[in-house]
């Protein structure tokens, strides 16, 4: 089957989950992704059992183990970069420069290369050299203090790093489109800081525009939510939480009020203004009491029946067993050669003519060394043997 990136070779020089997954997305959609594993390998700290993380973030990749400390290894690295359409990395600029494959170095080896790099805080500015640690980036973004209930510690979600994964893949493919039209390569930069900022799009933009507002600087209690019918959280009878998103309350009120046992014409709540302004707190308390009368499962049935924009807040067991997640290949069931039938995250985007693949799970370190040297660099068996004997590859 044809896939979007069938003609693209990616060199994957990544350490972090988010960047490795970004390279995997390119591989899912057809790119030949060669993961470079620097020798000597650190002592393996693999836990017993299925390496579920590797089988997600390194799926569809080939592995080449290379000792870049030697001159011969460095030369081989440069030969590989010269054959690459894309270099994807989260290494620091000094590390890359020392190997001669920072953006300038890589471009000298391959003039039209697309050089995708993830950093902590962006390529410019005083903090461009800080390490790519998502927690540090999230802490700078301003959102952590306002996510929890008042009085609670700040919350780190990890979502910013996942945002960077998609941004990096988007940036690289956009640069490939430009290259196809113009013949020019370029650098693509995404940072954990920028990704965290975009993940928190609306609050940040609101504060940027308004420039003040306690409700954007401090947590808002769920019992003081701005719209009792939107963004609200209520506890049901069995302790499971429900949430509502019905911002235009006029549209939903007739059906919603009946569902929660409030008369639609109850004079306390019969206009949007009363519901969200003058009687807001009263409505929150009425809903708090109403939702506490029945368990979460009941509420889900009611929401479905009435087609309300509301749902029960679930744990991971829900998507893990959800036929909808399976039908759309968001979660896969796959046969693992050693561990039998296992479940894994699948593919977030569906393409009808370029459907994402799962040709193989994560490679062993150096599993494809010979294959890559032969296919990509045209090495003979003798030359490959010589490299192995010299300890340049494994």
């Amino acid at each position: 089957m044809d896939r979007p990136l069938d003609d693209v070779v990616v060199i994957d020089l990544t350490r972090l989950f988010c960047t490795s997954l970004g390279a995997a997305f390119l591989g899912d959609f057809g790119a030949r992704v060669v993961r470079l594993e620097p020798l000597p390998q650190e002592a393996a700290r693999t836990a017993a059992g299925w390496n579920h993380e590797a089988d997600l973030i390194h799926r569809n990749k080939e592995s080449l183990a290379l000792d870049v400390r030697s001159g011969q290894g460095r030369a081989l690295l440069h030969e590989l970069v010269a054959k690459a359409d894309v270099l994807l990395t989260d290494w620091s600029v000094p590390e890359l420069a020392a190997l001669g494959i920072d953006h300038a170095g890589a471009s000298a080896l391959r003039a039209d290369i697309v050089f995708g790099r993830l950093s902590g805080f962006g390529p410019q500015g005083p903090d461009s050299g800080l390490p790519p640690i998502d927690e540090l980036a999230a802490a700078r973004t301003g959102m952590m203090p306002i996510l929890p209930q008042p009085g609670q510690p700040p919350v780190y979600t990890g979502a910013g790093a996942m945002h960077s994964t998609a941004m990096l893949a988007f940036g690289v493919v956009t640069a490939l489109l430009h290259r196809a039209a113009s013949g020019e390569g370029q650098a693509v930069d995404v940072s954990l800081f920028g990704a965290n900022m975009y993940g928190a799009a609306l609050d940040i933009q609101a504060f940027l525009a308004i420039g003040k507002g306690d409700r954007l600087l401090n947590p808002i209690s769920r019992l003081d939510v701005s719209n009792p019918m939107s963004g609200a959280l209520y506890r049901s009878a069995d302790g499971r939480w429900v949430t509502l998103t019905m911002p235009d309350t006029d549209r939903w009120w007739p059906v919603f009020s009946a569902a929660v046992g409030i008369a639609a014409d109850d004079a306390r709540f019969d206009t949007h203004d009363k519901r969200t302004e003058s009687r807001r707190l009263e409505l929150i308390h009425a809903l708090e009491a109403a939702f506490a009368t029945r368990p979460g499962g009941d509420w889900r049935r009611v929401f479905m029946e009435k087609q309300l924009s509301a749902d029960v807040i679930e744990r991971f067991d829900y998507p893990a067993a959800d036929p909808q997640a399976r039908a759309n290949r968001y979660i896969l069931e796959l046969e693992h050669p050693s561990f039998g039938t296992v479940k894994s995250l699948g593919f977030p985007v569906f393409l009808s003519e370029g459907t994402a693949r799962l040709d193989r799970l994560a490679p062993c370190i150096g599993q494809h060394t010979s294959q890559v040297l032969r296919d990509l660099l045209g090495y003979s068996e003798d030359a490959i043997h010589a490299c192995r004997s010299a300890g340049v590859v494994a």
Partner: protein, 402 residues
């Protein structure tokens, strides 16, 4: 300056956030994005007046920022004339993008099969709530879909309510996934000449917001689905600590050398001498006691003082800033994550979210903020579609356009 997506024309039939922000990424990099809106009121996001009960101010930053660099064409797709205009637009376009319900698109004669018949190589992108397959049919908004993914339920201290990742968090993620799908399809079309349909759903995207944890859960580690207290994390050196001022996030591996540096920074010889914490295993086993011991010391310091001490020892840490800090953060401005741009509505420069993906040769740009409703209707009909003025007048008379 060269633009990466120069020459790509996108029909953007989207409302609220996910779809518009997806098209925004394409517009920022030079695609010609034509936003199609209903004549009465347009995209509902034009009506946003407050955020978290705060007056939105004199310009609608919710709508104008994610619809920047776009044209607006107002068409009543419920009329026959409106559909005729739409089909002529489709014939001239590379991408059709919508986050309306598929049933609504079908009812308006805008299914993939219908549009493919007009423009065989069209890239037809939808942003459904729960995916195109399966039988779930219910309203989908950012937070109600986020609720199903499990990410909310695992955040916060035990016993506290679940935590929403922030306004627009799921839509923003669905938006970038959709943009990724579209550029992939464009790249494939360049080689094969064929279009296709694609879908980036809110659910599919948001399941990846917690990918490391959900993947771990799928492999059998159930504890990752539950709330975990910061007082009980395995590695006390990688944790949040309160000070007399802001909280501080310390991010260090549980290694002896890092522990020694932390002890020096906290000025506690007693900590360094405590046998319970002498090696990595001890620090893990006595994590609760250690977290408390560190916290006792950090609480006595201001965050600046603590950060200075951490800095002297080369410890990786950051104060937990608020939004007032981030809008002044030099790093954000230097990298173009924030930018200044002209706002027609208020006739002054305003501060907006900039470009989080930086391309060195074809950087994105903000040419203008979101369009006025229907401002380009006549121009696009004349220049792109070749309508004569009397035909446009006739379309107005038929109610197809305002």
């Amino acid at each position: 300056m060269a633009r990466a997506l120069e020459g790509i024309r996108v029909l953007d039939l989207t409302v609220w956030f996910q779809g518009p922000v997806s098209a925004q990424y394409l517009a920022d990099f030079g695609a010609e994005v034509i936003k199609i809106e209903r004549p009465q009121g347009g995209d509902q996001a034009r009506g946003v007046r407050s955020i978290k009960s705060l007056e939105i101010g004199d310009w609608n930053q919710y709508f104008l920022v994610i619809n920047r660099n776009k044209k607006s064409v107002a068409i009543d797709l419920k009329t026959e004339g409106g559909r005729e205009i739409m089909y002529r637009l489709v014939a001239e376009s590379d991408v059709f993008l919508s986050n309306l319900a598929p049933s609504m698109l079908d009812a308006w004669g805008l299914s993939y099969d219908r549009l493919k018949a007009i423009r065989p190589d069209i890239i037809y992108a939808t942003n459904t709530g729960y995916g195109r397959l399966g039988d779930v049919s219910k309203p989908s908004f950012d937070m109600t879909v986020q609720a199903l993914t499990g990410i909310m339920a695992r955040l916060g201290e035990p016993g506290e309510p679940p935590i929403y990742l922030g306004m627009g968090s799921g839509d923003a993620y669905g938006g970038i996934m959709s943009a990724l799908g579209i550029v992939l399809a464009l790249y494939q079309r360049r080689r094969t000449g064929r279009g296709q349909c694609l879908d980036a759903s809110l659910y599919g995207a948001q399941l990846f917001l917690a990918a490391p944890f959900l993947q771990s859960y799928l492999a059998g580690k159930e504890s990752v689905s539950l709330q975990q207290s910061r007082k009980q994390v395995d590695n006390p050196l990688w944790n949040l600590y309160p000070t007399a001022g802001k909280w501080v996030f310390l991010c260090e591996p549980n290694e002896d050398a890092r522990w020694a540096a932390l002890c020096r920074a906290l000025g506690g010889t007693d900590l360094a001498a405590d046998a319970r914490f002498a090696d990595a295993d001890g620090r893990r086993r006595h994590n609760e006691a250690l977290i408390e011991a560190i916290e006792q010391r950090t609480l006595g310091l201001g965050h600046a003082e603590l950060m200075a001490a951490f800095g002297r020892e080369g410890l990786a840490a950051s104060p937990v800033n608020n939004l007032a800090d981030v809008i002044r953060d030099e790093q954000a401005w230097r990298n173009g994550y924030f930018m200044k741009t002209w706002c027609e509505e208020v006739q002054r420069e305003v501060d907006v979210r900039g470009l989080p993906v930086t391309l060195s040769r074809t950087p994105g740009e903000i040419r203008c903020l979101g369009p006025q409703l229907g401002q380009d209707t006549e121009l696009v009909m004349m220049e792109l579609l070749g309508y004569e003025w009397d035909e446009i007048e006739a379309m107005k008379a038929r109610g197809a356009i305002p």
